[in-house]
């Protein structure tokens, strides 16, 4: 095992890619028997379901595949629907309200393709290494680079978490619910999801909530979009956005940040590990990620279509927040449509609050070397659960401070996500090319090419943002 597990007697496992059979017959299996934890048993139960589904349905090939997929779907759908969060849906809404149907429809599809390239790498990395992203960075690059990477994650996650509670407050605010109650509902959802003590149950509850991201679809249908214009935009990328270049650039940046962010990398890899996925599950993991990206792209485009009437009627939505979008849309998509839109913003905030606080907790647990699994009981992994709840409570409390300048957090959170992505991508690409970690599952030429193109693209967009900030008049700002 070159480069791995050199500091332990368990190196006697002898293989860079130990198989299930080797695990049970390994010379140290006897030692491990006495050390098995609640987490191991729960994970084995999840693995048994997958293994049984693969064995059982030999006579009914089609249903066997569906059953296996049902069991293995989760992290990919959650990460993409989680990233369709409150600030992201507000970015898409602002895009629809400002530019209507046109360039940004295919552009959003492109951003999800970028997200797919990135997230597929995390599936492989998690399934093969069985380590979270933070843990691998600390192991392979050391504490110096590890803490830098964690710094980006902590800042980005906390700011994003604040915006989720802003979304929760705004979404329920449409129905006249007081901020303190709305934020309390958000916290109850986070607590409720983690008290199950099982990754599987947590994942299914969160998936159940995440599917309500689809509320933007009926809201879009109620806006009676011109489907021919949608098809034309998808094929031709026109009409191009008109207006100040700086404003267009900011929306481009916000829409990219609504699809690719560092927390997604950390979250999906850790969730793949917690779910117990193995190299043989990589294909299913890819399907899971593709399904998530497809659903999220449809729902994102639905948000643009739902707010396009504001563009057609010349309503200035530049200062709108969540509930204001819903209120402004009511004359055009009806009260039901507006209510669906507000519920969609609320749901986006809830699911993302759960996913992002879990992402922070996973990373924290991996770095300090304490238990970091949703399969662990609270008493065994209290630092993990404390981080999860603590970050959610702190963000919720900030949202309740009167007159706090929270609108600036909403405006900048997606921009910060894009700017922090290139280093996160560099670590990801380096790790997924690390043969000591990945064995035969290292990136191929096209995967590396796609990863590098995405990184260069994000650096380019970031530099353009920097230039417009330093020289605001350069692009007519």
């Amino acid at each position: 095992m070159t480069g791995r597990k050199q500091d332990s007697e368990t190196s006697s496992f002898g293989s860079a890619r130990p198989t299930t059979e080797i695990a049970a017959s390994s010379p140290v299996a006897g030692d491990l028997v006495g050390l098995l934890t609640h987490e191991d048993v729960d994970r084995a139960r999840d693995r048994w379901r997958v293994t049984r589904a693969r064995w059982q349905g030999r006579g009914a090939q089609r249903f066997r595949g569906l059953r296996v997929l049902w069991l293995l779907v989760g992290p990919g759908v959650l990460v993409f629907l989680g990233e369709n969060d409150a600030p992201s849906m507000l970015s898409y809404s602002a895009t629809g309200a400002r530019f209507g149907i046109g360039f940004f429809i295919p552009f959003v599809v492109l951003t999800f393709l970028i997200g797919l390239v990135v997230q597929e790498m995390t599936v492989r990395l998690g399934a093969v290494s069985h380590r979270g992203h933070a843990e691998l960075i600390f192991d392979r690059f050391g504490k110096f680079w590890g803490f830098f990477s964690m710094g980006d994650l902590v800042i980005g996650n906390f700011l994003t978490l604040i915006t989720e509670f802003i979304g929760i407050r705004a979404g329920l605010g449409f129905f006249g619910i007081r901020p303190v109650v709305a934020v309390g509902v958000g916290l109850v959802a986070v607590v409720g999801a983690i008290t199950t003590g099982r990754y599987w149950t947590w994942e299914r509850i969160t998936l159940g909530l995440a599917i309500f991201n689809g509320l933007f679809v009926p809201a879009a249908i109620l806006a009676h979009p011109n489907w021919l214009a949608v098809g034309h935009a998808l094929l031709t990328w026109t009409p191009l956005p008109q207006g100040r270049a700086a404003e267009i650039l900011l929306l481009i940046l916000a829409d990219i940040g609504a699809t690719v962010t560092p927390w997604m990398i950390f979250f999906q890899q850790s969730a793949v590990v917690d779910k117990g996925m193995q190299p043989r599950d990589i294909r299913a993991g890819r399907f899971d990620t593709l399904l998530g990206a497809t659903l999220a792209a449809i729902f994102a485009i639905a948000a643009i279509l739902a707010t396009a009437p504001l563009f057609h009627h010349g309503i200035d939505a530049s200062q709108f927040q969540g509930a204001q979008f819903a209120e402004a849309l009511a004359p055009w998509i009806g009260h039901v449509g507006a209510a669906l839109f507000a519920l969609g913003i609320f749901e986006a905030g809830i699911v993302a609050a759960i996913a992002i606080s879990t992402s922070s907790a996973y990373a924290f647990g991996e770095v300090i070397g304490t238990g970091h699994s949703l399969n662990r009981p609270v008493r065994d992994a209290w630092p993990f659960y404390s981080t999860l709840l603590g970050s959610a409570c702190a963000a919720a409390a900030l949202v309740l401070i009167p007159h706090a300048p929270l609108e600036f957090v909403v405006l900048t959170v997606n921009v910060i996500a894009v700017l922090a992505m290139p280093p996160a991508l560099a670590f990801l690409i380096l790790l997924v090319n690390d043969r000591d970690v990945m064995g035969e599952h290292v990136n191929g030429f096209w995967e590396n090419a796609a990863g590098i193109v995405v990184t260069v693209l994000l650096v380019g967009v970031g530099i353009a943002f920097g230039v417009t900030t330093v020289f605001p008049k350069l692009l007519g700002g």
């Binding site: 480069g3 791995r4 332990s8 368990t10 496992f13 130990p18 299930t20 059979e21 695990a23 049970a24 017959s25 299996a29 030692d31 491990l32 028997v33 050390l35 098995l36 934890t37 191991d40 048993v41 994970r43 084995a44 139960r45 693995r47 048994w48 293994t51 049984r52 693969r54 064995w55 059982q56 290494s129 069985h130 380590r131 192991d139 392979r140 690059f141 050391g142 830098f148 980006d152 193995q278 070397g369 238990g371 699994s373 600036f408 405006l411 900048t412 910060i416 700017l419 922090a420 290139p422 280093p423 380096l430 000591d436 970690v437 650096v459 970031g462 943002f465 920097g466 900030t469 330093v470």
Partner: protein
Amino acid sequence: MKPHEDHAEAAASPKPDLKDPRVVLSLLETDQVVAAKQQTRFGRRSLSTGIKILLWGLRVYVLVMFVLVLVSVVRAIHSAP
């Protein structure tokens, strides 16, 4: 008891006996067992000069960009009505 048969047996069983540690081990890869992960670490990889330059370059990029975000936020606060 051959491990492969173990695995098949566990899969075919309507309810596996997860109190039996060998059944648990037969369903997990070695690296998935918490105790094995705690005892083992990937070693530090050696970073070539090119990789160091890349990582430092991206680090400086992020720091500069974060300062610029701060500048744009301060500007926005001052220009807010």
